[in-house]
């Protein structure tokens, strides 16, 4: 019998265009305090800690050592770090809880995009021999994907605009969102993508607590049980991929059991409106599914934390009874290269 693990608490910062006055530690600390306070746990009660962040955003090596200070790792803690979105840190923590070696885990992620030119920084993710020397930026690559969708007849510019408008309208109910309310479609940033199709650039942090079995029930009135969790990667070269589809997201969803029963909610990590089109198709999400009620990444996209926030937002809806079965998705790499899918459920009411 597989151990049942749940998300029992979630907290996030207010996401902002710049946080010049805050270090990464100062940005993260209130979030850690809040997520611990939700469960009444202290750092010393946590069996395993795992975080996700990027040295390239922080502009220094071993940047995660600073935030470990924020955790208060004394006495020493059992701890690990992935140079990935926090959703993948959650995966590592979940696998650890599955073995029975830990009953509780703290997962956190943070990213400050404001200190550098993010579009340039993200080009450093690309093949260093053939692609990176050309500095193709993240918006341009997403625009290639959007154009492929238009060419395939999978969407049109009005449908893309509607995704942006819906996301920012929904974000008015999300006090942490960076971009909410009526946002103009704007000019083309890189054709066919307009500013309204693109995520805001900003800084933010998020944290989640996982707990196993009865411990989860003690810590949360309605735990968000992780019924399935899987992630898959695709080849790096865009030329080797069909950009209008996401076979890795579909496979991850299949392995996570997402297709066994319909979900009522989906939090998708789709930084560009066009990527929601790809993911809806790959994940077989119909119009009856409530997609990105938080506003999604189009309302706040703190790099390295935005995927974990999707899991946190989906879990929070289960916690408060707004969802019984939710899908959460996180992505990494150019044009949705790597995708993670979690299926979360609440106990029957």
């Amino acid at each position: 019998m597989t151990r049942q693990i749940a998300v029992v608490a979630f907290a996030q910062s207010d996401h902002r265009r710049t946080t010049d006055e805050l270090s990464e530690v100062e940005m993260l600390m209130p979030v850690l305090h809040e997520v611990l306070a939700r469960t009444g746990l202290r750092t010393a009660d946590i069996d395993f800690t795992c975080s996700g962040s990027s040295d390239y955003l922080a502009g220094r090596a071993f940047s995660f050592t600073m935030t470990l200070d924020g955790v208060g790792a004394w006495p020493p803690v059992s701890e690990s770090h992935v140079e990935m979105d926090g959703a993948f840190a959650l995966y590592e923590a979940w696998s650890r809880l599955l073995t029975g070696e830990a009953d509780t885990a703290l997962v956190y992620a943070y990213g400050k995009s404001s200190p550098g030119p993010l579009r340039d920084v993200l080009t450093r993710q690309l093949d260093p021999y053939y692609l990176a020397p050309l500095w193709p930026d993240s918006v341009a690559l997403a625009a290639l994907q959007a154009q492929a969708l238009l060419d395939a007849g999978d969407t049109d510019e009005h449908a893309l605009a509607a995704i942006g408008a819906r996301s920012r309208a929904d974000a008015t109910a999300n006090p942490h969102a960076q971009l909410a309310g009526p946002v103009p479609r704007g000019d083309h940033l890189v054709r066919p993508l307009r500013t309204g199709d693109c995520p805001p650039i900003g800084d933010g942090a998020a944290a989640v607590i996982l707990a196993a079995g009865d411990r989860a029930r003690e810590l949360c009135a309605r735990p968000a049980w992780i019924r399935g969790l899987d992630h898959r990667i695709e080849p790096h070269s865009l030329g080797a991929r069909d950009l209008t589809d996401s076979p890795s997201a579909r496979l991850a969803a299949e392995r996570a059991g997402a297709f066994e029963r319909p979900v009522d909610t989906a939090e998708l990590h789709a930084p560009f409106s066009s990527q929601e089109v790809v993911l809806r198709k790959a994940l077989r999400l119909g119009d009856e599914v409530c997609v990105n009620p938080s506003g999604g990444a189009l309302a706040a996209n703190p790099v390295m934390a935005a995927g974990l926030i999707r899991i946190g937002e989906a879990a929070a809806r289960v916690h408060r009874g707004a969802s019984d079965r939710a899908l959460a998705h996180a992505t990494s790499g150019p044009c949705l290269q790597q995708n993670l899918v979690a299926v979360l459920e609440g106990d029957p009411r």
Binding site: T2, L68, E79, S80, E83, F88, T99, G100, R124, H236
Partner: protein
Amino acid sequence: MSKEPVAVVGIGQSKHAAARRDVSLAGLVREAAQRALDDAELGWADIEAVVIGKAPDFFEGVMMPELYLADALGAAGKPVLRVHTAGSVGGSTALVAANLVAARLHGTVLTVAFEKQSESNAMWGLSLPIPFQQPLLAGAGGFFAPHVRAYMRRSGAPDTVGALVAHKDRRNALKNPYAHLHEHDITLEKVMAAPMLWDPVRYSETCPSSDGACAMVLTGRAGAARAPRPPAWLLGGAMRSEPTLFAGKDFVSPRAGRDCAADVYRQAGITDPRRDIDAVEMYVPFSWYEPMWLENLGFAEEGEGWKLTEAGVTALDGDLPVNMSGGVLSTNPIGASGMLRFAEAALQVRGQAGEHQVPGARKALGHAYGGGSQFFAMWLVGAEPPER
């Protein structure tokens, strides 16, 4: 639920060198991974997931290089995790991979760690800009030298112990065809005559900067039964972290290291590490860390570690061989260095360590550390599967 026992059935490493200009990053990781698969007599299709680790992305100038390396590692359609826990990362990466098998998420996992330090200057890559750090701490040696001095003062160890370690490890490396440094004409006198770099650490007592990769194939009971060569069984594994700096921090013998070792010994049923463990491969980037870690890991009482080194106990033919491969002092692709330690421990209990084999090694410890002596990863592997 019970955990799946984890076995190491394939081990591979690249030839390590100051600059591997003959291969790209992808070629380097592929070299190690292919050797691990060959050792396990498995193909790329047999691998269900890939866990990759390396130290700061600045060393190669590639942000999250696992995205680009997915193709080279045959990972399309599979899960890829990228671990980064500073210098301990090679060890942590192996432990994360082992956990995927232990949790029965995957049957067979490939784990890889690498660094291609010739792409940049690691010393300056590790020297943080002001205001994050004071301007006098050039490189890792500048950070660790005062802690070595503190150990010497505390233990009363004679000045010569560091040179003994360096001489031993560099000579062990002569038996390891993959090692970076092969100093055929090394003598103790030459080690002691080398220029002082970060007092009390001489140039000859410092790790090199290497290009290299290490890979292992990890699997469960069923995979081990099919393995062509004897597996190494994971008997205990743990990670511990503590803050970089705080009042009362003991840099000489950090508590996180002691706690990590205690956790591993508890899992593996080790009550007397000196007696129960046959060989140790520990992370010694500066010679003096051998006696320091001997104490931190419980092989010697506090202040007594240097006596083991001085008495030859840690030599390849000693009672407790340490760093049979030549260690970090002979090969240091930083991100891979921890995994090389774990892999050497596994090679020893498999009886596959070639000329640097410790005869009859049944239990071996692999150890890695990183950051400001704050991140620890260890595993204890044995020739026999765990009892439970």
